[in-house]
């Protein structure tokens, strides 16, 4: 029972619980309906009633009388077992769910939306997926993506590796969109994969007929069957429900709070476009890793004590020192312009260098490349040992430093790894095509 305070007393005194059909009698009006749960965090004097005509209303119980008409059962959702036959002519694709709702079931009797995680639910909602492949579903986490953390990246990577080792031809990871680009970067560095690993999600929840989940999932399965053995993000390319882009996991970012086409490749073009199960390579300058029969390799040692710090006018000098004093092992700065921060920070950055703590410089411009040789501040930063992240996204640089410090503590080695493109995260050329696309 989600009721508290006044309502709880009222309901308990009449032995009424959620799901019961009741008649509420007030001074001048009567309502007949089913008692529903109440959202958390709102007042306690209104009872939520679903009337016979389907509408919900809140009824103030302060001066109401009630009559129990029918004891209801607590609504339960039970769907018939889904009979999935494996088709030997189709590839086996695993869809791993990390949370959010890849499928939802609405109980129209109560109006409740039940998230569904099982493979059955997923396929029941999207039966067309089975036309493309033998789909195996696996729920490994149930978290909102803002609650993602490095230990879950490891868990995801290990589950993906298990699936690949068990013969999955490709893996799709259903993920909340907020931090999908952090996870895609993390999986890129952790895994050396012989098959495609595709992250996808939805900007409109799957309980809506207009959800973008279906197209994203369909396109992701197409991508998972392709020969691109990399970690990729697959989402709507426009506001239309017609095609999706495949973005490299290290060069992609969520750029809009709500649009379907929120994910954009930054400092590169989208790798491919998918429409009606056809995959077309868009960036012909990229030599992507091809599908192979190699074993999947996993490097999942991570250093979690890394901070991502944004520079801004008026930033307190104490901020850098705070992290150093707290024992952080690496810092990524999101500097201004070409990769700058106020001169006042210089002594603290020098201190970090003296302590053997790597400091990596990215740009909050997002577009373009860090170059600390142009202005004197930049040169002082270089002198203090600050490492340029080149054209890497700040989020990618953060994830990469978390991963790198898991591989080595040697400062020179860290610098070397950070400035070497391992998974397409650094492009040598800055093309005129790579801005605001």
């Amino acid at each position: 029972m989600s009721y508290k305070g006044v309502c709880k007393v009222f309901l308990d005194s009449c032995d009424i619980s959620v799901g019961d059909i009741i008649l509420i009698i007030k001074n001048s009006v009567e309502y007949r309906g089913m008692v529903l749960n109440r959202a958390a965090g709102v007042d306690d004097k209104h009872l939520v009633l679903k009337l016979d005509n389907g509408y919900n209303i809140g009824v103030d119980v302060t001066d109401a009388q009630v009559e129990l008409l029918e004891k209801g059962e607590k609504p339960k959702i039970e769907l018939p077992k889904f009979d999935i036959k494996k088709d030997p002519d189709k590839e086996d694709i695993t869809i791993i769910s990390t949370g959010g709702t890849v499928a939802s079931i609405i109980d129209y009797k109560t109006g409740a939306v039940h998230p569904a995680f099982t493979a059955d639910d997923l396929l029941r909602a999207n039966p067309e997926l089975m036309e493309q492949a033998n789909i195996k579903g696996k729920a490994i986490l149930n978290i909102l993506s803002e609650n993602m953390k490095p230990e879950y990246w490891i868990k995801s990577a290990r589950n993906i590796a298990d699936e690949v080792n068990n013969g999955a031809y490709g893996v799709v990871v259903a993920h909340g969109t907020d931090t999908m680009h952090y996870t895609s970067a993390a999986l890129s560095f952790i895994l050396d994969t012989p098959v495609p690993i595709i992250l996808t999600g939805a900007q409109r929840s799957s309980d809506r007929p207009s959800s973008d989940a279906f197209l994203n999932l369909m396109a992701s399965v197409t991508a998972a069957k392709s020969d691109i053995a990399e970690v990729l993000v697959c989402m709507h390319s426009t506001m239309n429900d017609s095609q999706a882009y495949l973005h490299r996991g290290t060069k992609v970012r969520k750029m809009h709070t709500s649009r379907r086409d929120t994910f954009r490749s930054i400092n590169t073009q989208p790798l491919a476009r998918i429409q009606n199960s056809n995959l077309e390579i868009l960036d012909k300058t990229i030599d992507y890793t091809r599908r192979s029969l190699d074993e999947i390799k996993i490097y999942d040692s991570l250093e979690e004590d890394v901070a991502l710090i944004k520079s801004y006018p008026g930033i307190s000098v104490g901020i850098i020192d705070y992290y150093l004093d707290k024992g952080f092992k690496g810092l990524v700065l999101e500097g201004t312009g070409l990769g700058h921060c106020p001169e006042e920070l210089m002594p603290s950055l020098q201190r970090a260098n003296d302590m053997g703590i790597p400091v990596v410089m990215t740009s909050q411009c997002l577009y373009g490349r860090v170059n600390m040789n142009v202005y004197s501040t930049g040169r002082k930063l270089v002198d203090s040992g600050v490492i340029s992240a080149m054209d890497m996204l700040p989020e990618t640089a953060y994830v990469k430093l978390v991963w790198t410090l898991g591989q080595t503590q040697d400062l020179d080695e860290v610098k070397n790894i950070m400035q070497t493109s391992l998974k397409g995260e650094i492009r040598r050329k800055t093309s005129q095509k790579y801005f605001l696309i």
């Binding site: 001048s28 709102v42 209303i57 909602a125 039966p127 409109r204 809506r208 239309n240 649009r259």
Partner: protein, 625 residues
């Protein structure tokens, strides 16, 4: 017709757009636009999972194919909310307040807490696949001469996107209308007299007009639910003309009675429908029927179905000028064919008796049997005959539940099956809103006057004619009238006719009348009050203000409308008298009329008629004496 005996039951549903500044869930303006869309968005809607359990794969495929839509959007006229690219903003409280006022005016009980729901609509008219709606009030009533009518529910909801046209098999919707606030008022289904339903519709219309609602075509829609004993519930959409309502009810009752008689007859004959669809193309290779030969030459088919025991009934009238066959055709047309042929009207339309005979032979029809013929693309023809079969099957059962569309002559035609019970669940993006008691009370103690009451009061208090009072109410200018009347000692009918007619005329001259606000009108009446200009000059002053952007004093000066002094008037009168001596000599005081005209013309409205009349009369009397 004895409606009570027939068991007539009706319920009314009125949808009215509110005249708010912003839409219900976003800050866009509540207006339609004819501008070219700046973007077209292609979308698919999918039935959600609970619906999936009930339909088989084939039906799902079919629905999927049909659920592609194009949405026309604008850079600034619409925003991401309508496009389903941004969550809804909080509920527009202005709209809620208007709906609360309407609810109070129809004596309804307002809910303690308002919850926004999602009502599943996957015909594309809502980008999200659902319409947002919430129950505001229940249990109201209106008194009519035929007794009390219960107003069951009042809901506040968002209007749907505007259906524009079909393009490459996809429906185009424009997002301009989506999200305009709408109230839906429903009566209980116990109205049993056509006059009563008209009366209720009129009263609701009057009540709505007293509040902040949109006016004009398409801003109000009325649907009528109607049934008779043993008949079925039929929803008639788009009733515009209230005067047509009684006739429409009568025609629908007739239709149901006739369908029930057809049912009895069919049962007597032990009628049945055969599932088979016959290809009778071979009969028509040399046909003279243009429709049939055209279909065949385009590679289409001529298909027929047999309706056992239907002979003679398909041609039977069920409404004035509408036969049972028209009903069958209505269903067939929904599948895209332009019409059907049936035995009761053949031979005709170029189809010969021989061809009819040949079809009868192929399908094995007996004397009591009928057949329906369709010539079109094979798939279309086949689908439309499947519809015909199912409609004919229902004829044996009785009257089918349907949504129908009203026609200009008071008849109705088939639109679609009656929607099944609404599937609703809560809109999680909008928090519930408590409607406090004291807020309700303050609204109730400030309710607007209903139009009739207002008209009568204005007539009584200010001595206006019924016509002027009615005009003021209709164009919603009574409060302006009363403000001006309270401030200036000018004759009521002068103020009223300026508001009701003069401004309208200037508008008709395509002048921008926005500048003619209360301040400008006040100045004009000040001039009248001070006797500086005559009432006859009001149109000229206002026209000048509207056209040139003058102030009132500038307009009076520029247009030379200032009143002449008494001496100046007398001078003009004297001149007129001396140049028209002949008439005076000839006609004496009878010359007063023509002279008055001549004088007024040369005064160009710069003097009061009354004054001129008096001066002229005095002078003439003097002269003649």
């Amino acid at each position: 017709m004895d409606y009570e005996k027939i068991g007539l039951k009706m319920g009314l549903e009125v949808h009215q757009q509110l005249n708010t500044n912003e839409k219900l869930f976003c800050p866009c303006e509540c207006s339609l636009t004819d501008k070219k869309p700046q973007l077209k968005i292609l979308r698919n809607l999918r039935p959600t999972q609970s619906e999936l359990g009930k339909i088989d794969r084939a039906a799902f495929e079919e629905s999927r194919r049909k659920l592609q839509f194009v949405y026309e959007s604008y850079d600034h006229h619409t925003c991401l909310v309508e496009a389903d690219e941004e969550p809804p903003r909080p509920l527009n409280l202005e709209a809620l307040e208007i709906s609360l006022i309407i609810a109070s005016l129809v004596n309804m009980q307002i809910v303690d807490e308002f919850h926004v729901m999602r009502k599943q609509v996957i015909d594309g008219s809502n980008t999200g696949g659902f319409q947002r709606t919430g129950l505001v009030a229940t249990n109201g009533y209106l008194e009519t001469d035929y007794g009390k009518v219960i107003i069951e529910n009042l809901c506040l909801e968002e209007d749907a996107a505007r259906r524009m046209h079909e393009e490459k098999g996809k429906t185009n919707f424009r997002l301009d209308r989506l999200g305009i606030p709408l109230v839906e008022i429903t009566t209980d289904p116990s109205i049993n007299n056509p006059q009563q339903v008209k009366d209720v519709a009129y009263q609701i219309g009057q009540i709505l007009r007293s509040t902040k609602v949109k006016r004009g075509l398409g801003t109000i829609r009325q649907d009528l639910n109607i049934s008779i004993s043993e008949g079925a519930r039929v929803e008639i959409k788009g009733v515009q003309d209230l005067d047509l309502m009684p006739k429409m009810v009568e025609n629908e009752v007739k239709r149901q009675i006739n369908l029930l008689q057809i049912k009895d007859e069919l049962r007597k004959r032990d009628a049945s429908i055969e599932n088979e669809i016959f290809n009778v193309g071979a009969v028509f290779t040399d046909t003279k029927s243009k429709i049939v030969s055209k279909a065949l030459s385009n590679g289409g088919s001529v298909l027929a179905v047999k309706l056992n025991g239907f002979a003679g009934l398909i041609g039977r009238d069920i409404q004035p000028d509408r036969r049972f066959g028209t009903e069958l055709a209505g269903y067939a047309k929904k599948m895209g064919v332009s019409g059907i042929f049936h035995t009761d009207e053949l031979p005709s339309y170029g189809i010969t008796q021989e061809e009819v005979g040949a079809v009868i032979n192929i399908i094995g029809a007996l004397k009591e049997d009928a057949f329906i013929l369709v010539a079109d693309e094979d798939e279309k023809a086949r689908n439309s005959l499947i519809e015909v079969q199912s409609r004919a099957e229902n004829a044996i059962k009785g009257v089918p539940e349907e949504t129908r569309k009203v026609l200009d002559d008071g008849n109705t035609e088939y639109l679609r099956p009656l929607p099944t019970a609404s599937r609703m669940y809560v809109e999680t993006d909008i928090p519930a809103i408590t409607i406090a008691r004291d807020y309700q009370e303050s609204l109730k103690s400030n309710l607007p006057e209903l139009p009739d009451v207002k008209k009568n009061r204005v007539m009584m208090e200010h001595g206006l004619s019924e016509d002027l009072a009615l005009q003021l109410v209709r164009i919603d200018k009574t409060s302006e009238f009363e403000k001006l009347k309270a401030e200036y000692k000018v004759d009521s009918s002068i103020i009223a006719s300026t508001l009701a007619y003069t401004i309208k005329e200037l508008k008709r001259e395509r002048l921008n009348v926005d500048a003619l606000d209360l301040k400008v009108l006040g100045e004009v009446f000040f001039y009248i009050n001070e006797n500086k200009i005559p009432a006859a000059s009001i149109p000229a002053v206002l026209r000048s203000v509207a056209r040139h952007g003058y102030s009132v004093s500038e307009a009076v000066k520029e247009e030379g409308l200032e009143k002449l002094s008494k001496a100046e008037v007398e001078l003009i009168i004297d001149n007129s008298i001396s140049s028209n001596n002949d008439i005076i000599k000839e006609r004496g005081m009878e010359a007063m009329g023509p002279l008055m005209g001549i004088v007024m013309k040369s005064l160009k409205g710069k003097a009061d008629g009354k004054l001129v009349n008096k001066l002229l009369k005095d002078k003439l009397i003097k002269l003649i004496d």
